[in-house]
Amino acid sequence: ATQSIRHFWWGNPTRDERTFKVIEMFQGSHPDIAVQGETIGWGDYWTKMATQTAGGNMADVIQMAHTYIHEYVQRGGVVPLNDYIGNGIDLSHYDAGANDIGTMGGDLYGINIGATCPSIPYNKRVFEEAGVEFDPLAWTTDDFAAACEKITSSTGGAVTGSEDMSLYMETFEIFCRQAGVDFYSEDGELTMTVEQVAAWWQMWKDLRDAGVVEGKDATVQLDKGMADLGLIRGTTATTFRWANQTGALQGLMQDPLGLAIVPQRAGLQSGHFVLPSMFLCLTRDAGDIPAALAYIDNWVNDEETIKVLGIDRGIPPSQKGRDILAPQLNETDAMVVTFFGETQSQILSTPVIGPKGSGEVRDSFMRTGTEVVLGNMSPQDAADQFIHDAEGILIRASR
């Protein structure tokens, strides 16, 4: 090999296996390009990434998450790909708007390599046994509350209807968008409102007070891993997750899972959206750009590659991709793809990706929300404080 590139992603055993297979295949077809695959789990990935970035030693091609892409884009860690689209990388078959979220200020920084959407995975067995009947694609917050009540009472409280999602900012985002309010404006201003925040927390407080959602002990743990979810442990019937994680959830459970949308608010618009679960980015430190481009192009276009990758990283953001995969999907995956397809119609807009500091705002949201969960603050007061804090955070982050 005369050229060499490094590809760095966060993974797990299956994903790593698939990715290394892809690399192997790529090298088979491109004997002049050596690819070094580098991988580690999610949590450690970002520490290592930051260190490599600081050292000027980033891998040529990296996997990005929507929660972090802004940080790297704004600081120049990843480079725009505009010049290479159609000129090295062929994205012509991509769904319209599939790369919107990877585009900032008109430049494309991250190529969508798997789309996902918000979802409420639910324990089918529990729902059925409790006799809950609902339309997973069109239920409302009232249906949701009723379902929770039914489940909780029918199991005598052994299983509560739902996890208390008041601290899930992702779920709140849909709630917000249902009212037509996005979190941030295009230029990074905070646009979410005190009212929406208060209403959100109030809604959950009511459910909590009714005793139909999981208790505060489970709630105040933040950023729970799958292993800690009530859904997995059998103590609640639903949670919030990105749809592409359904397979992973199902692997840890015995009961079958179903997927529902985040409940609608009666009379308001849909807040549903899709976003890339992962991006591929070209970094500032990339040495051999043509080789990297060849690699990326192969990744999004090569049929065999798409087959090997499966929907592990999300649903292919192109009909071509989805068609290639359709025959090989297992039951759960098929359900996910179906769900993804069926909810397309509910997408009204794409959310704006958060500015620098949005991660910290999310932390602040969870922290302040905790006070509400613990009963130390009223939803309204907490909402006031959160918005105040969030503004401060954004100001500090923008310096």
Binding site: G43, D217, G357
Partner: protein
């Protein structure tokens, strides 16, 4: 001049590996971190000089800094004495007699072997959770427990318990130390009609003082720097309600989650000063209670 060389050569020869390591590997990064503490540095772009900005923000505006200090001090105050006491107690128990003691030593060290792995985090949440083992045991004696680890008022103490439970390394050091106490002192004390307890207080403790001192200083330093257990148990967030926001967890998040390495460096140097103050205090008082048999001067 020759005298100077004669006096110093051996010392510096033995110190060479450390000196090389210190000057070539450690000092640079330390100084850089000091420099960074006066800058804004997001790790992607170049650092920007900010004077005392970080420090000013820390002391004037940063509520979470103070919270982190509070959490950390609470932890240090409880965990260090408890852990040392547990370690010393068990070490004393294991010091003599009993043929099977090797097995116990291994068993008691196990928790420390497991360190702060994901398994421990899961387990700890389970044990101290609402329906955890602890509450089941408490229920047996008629006490209704609570979610110890999820209640901001008590969560820190579960970490203290964790620290105490992982007393393996100080225990091992105590064991090694106990072995160094000349047996004839106990014989003399026996002859002097000394009770076991007084032997412990008047012979064991003072003779073990250098080792106790070591453990005290090191455990204090380590306790101030505690990171992994709190980080893993709180999923890196310091939750619930920042009650597990250990100083280094906060520092880590500032650095690697929020890209404020400059601020994190400032935090680090403040922590260093705090630890240094405590260590200096320990060293200063040591001459009153740590006896080195062999010091000439």
């Amino acid at each position: 001049m020759r005298k100077f060389f004669r006096r110093n050569t051996a010392g510096y020869v033995f110190l060479t590996p450390w000196l090389v390591g210190f000057f070539f590997l450690a000092l640079g990064p330390i100084l850089v971190s000091l420099y960074l503490s006066f800058t804004r540095y997001d790790m992607v772009s170049a650092p920007v000089w900010d004077g005392l900005g970080n420090y000013r923000y820390m002391f004037e505006y940063d509520r979470r800094f103070w919270k982190a200090l509070e959490v950390t001090f609470t932890f240090v105050a409880f965990s260090v004495p408890l852990r040392l006491a547990a370690a010393l107690g068990v070490a004393m128990l294991l010091d003599k007699g009993l043929r099977t003691i090797g097995v116990y030593r291994a068993i008691f060290y196990l928790p420390s072997l497991l360190g702060a792995s994901i398994a421990i985090a899961l387990l700890w949440r389970e044990m101290f959770g609402l329906n955890g083992v602890i509450n089941q045991v408490l229920a047996m004696v008629g006490i209704t427990g609570k979610g110890w680890i999820t209640d901001p008022d008590t969560s820190i103490y579960t970490i203290v318990v964790l620290a105490m439970w992982q007393f393996g390394s100080p225990m091992l050091i105590f064991l090694a130390g106990l072995r160094g106490i000349p047996r004839d002192l106990y014989e003399a004390a026996e002859i002097d009609g000394t009770s076991r307890f007084r032997q412990f207080r008047r012979i064991t403790l003072p003779m073990l003082a250098p080792v106790i001192f070591f453990n005290l200083v090191l455990q204090t330093i380590e306790a101030f720097k505690t990171f992994t257990s709190a980080f893993i148990i709180s999923n890196g967030t310091g939750a619930p309600a920042d009650s597990l926001l250990f100083y280094t967890v906060y520092l880590f998040n500032e650095a690697f989650k929020f890209f404020r390495m400059g601020y994190a460096s400032a935090l680090a140097w403040v922590l260093l000063l705090i630890i240094a103050a405590f260590t200096a205090l320990a060293f200063a008082t040591s001459k009153y209670w740590v006896h080195y048999e062999n010091e000439r001067d």
